[in-house]
Symmetry: C2
């Protein structure tokens, strides 16, 4: 049990924000907040018979139009079989278009159709509405801190993806 003691007696600055109690509260905050984070899209998805996996796929196809399956795989961090199941239904339902690559014809480039973009927009609107409310309530400085902590929490590989998506990828 390496770290179960206060962890506060350290340097000159007050490190009270690093106590186990504070860290536990942070953990719980992440847990409860993530539920809120997904709640609104989940309600919409249910009406269409889709799940979170479909939302995630559509989100990143929207963000990186023309992305390959492999790239999407790497962003989402799932197996190709898992992604393929989701992708297949989205393609069958006419929400996503898969086109053979020009240079490399093994690759498939993924784009949202008009219908897919509309659903993505609807899901995104709902999720952003909650985000906006939270951001507005907390203020710009809090938002900056929020982003800093989240980024520091990511696995390096995921952080790389995150930063690659910067400002409209």
């Amino acid at each position: 049990m390496p770290d179960s003691t206060p962890a506060a007696i350290h340097s000159g600055e007050s490190l009270l924000f690093l106590t186990d109690e504070q860290l536990r509260k942070g953990i719980e905050a992440m847990f409860f907040a993530y539920r809120g984070f997904t709640a609104d899209p989940d309600r919409i998805l249910e009406q269409y018979g889709y799940g979170r996996a479909h939302h995630r796929a559509m989100h990143f196809i929207h963000r990186v139009p023309g992305t390959t399956v492999n790239n999407l795989l790497s962003i989402l961090g799932v197996t190709k079989q898992s992604l393929n199941r989701v992708l297949r239904t989205l393609i069958e339902d006419g929400l996503v278009k898969s086109s053979v690559g020009n240079r490399d014809k093994r690759e498939r480039h993924l784009c949202l159709t008009e219908e897919g973009a509309a659903l993505e927009q609807q899901l995104s609107d709902a999720q952003r509405a909650r985000m906006r409310k939270a951001y507005r309530a907390a203020g710009p400085e809090a938002v900056a801190g929020f982003r800093q902590v989240l980024e520091a929490m990511m696995e390096p590989e995921m952080r790389a993806h995150f930063n690659r998506l910067k400002d409209g990828g």
Copy 2:
């Protein structure tokens, strides 16, 4: 598509942190960070043949020792059938102890056994280690902001639970 326009032209203060781009980046940050958040415990749980659901149950039993099944149900936001499946294995494996209530004998009070507390500690240590690293990297002001935004993001019911757990409960 109600909110797909800048949303910035508003009051006097710069509301650039409320643009759709910023909100989308926040959404992606939540997604990528949550993966990191669960990665370390997941690796440990796998060795014991448990999953995230077991971790969550143990976490909150640790936080609210002697809690009832109904209370845990309400915190976790799942059905009693889902929780029961998890709880049963934890009780069978001797990690959780269920005891009949004194005042109300219909209720079961849940506690971690020594063995359960040890595993919870191990999981918690791993998760807190990542959290601590992120907190330290971001600094106290960022942490305060992080917590503010997360709290604002929660569903009211979950926020009530969150605040009820305040400072060791």
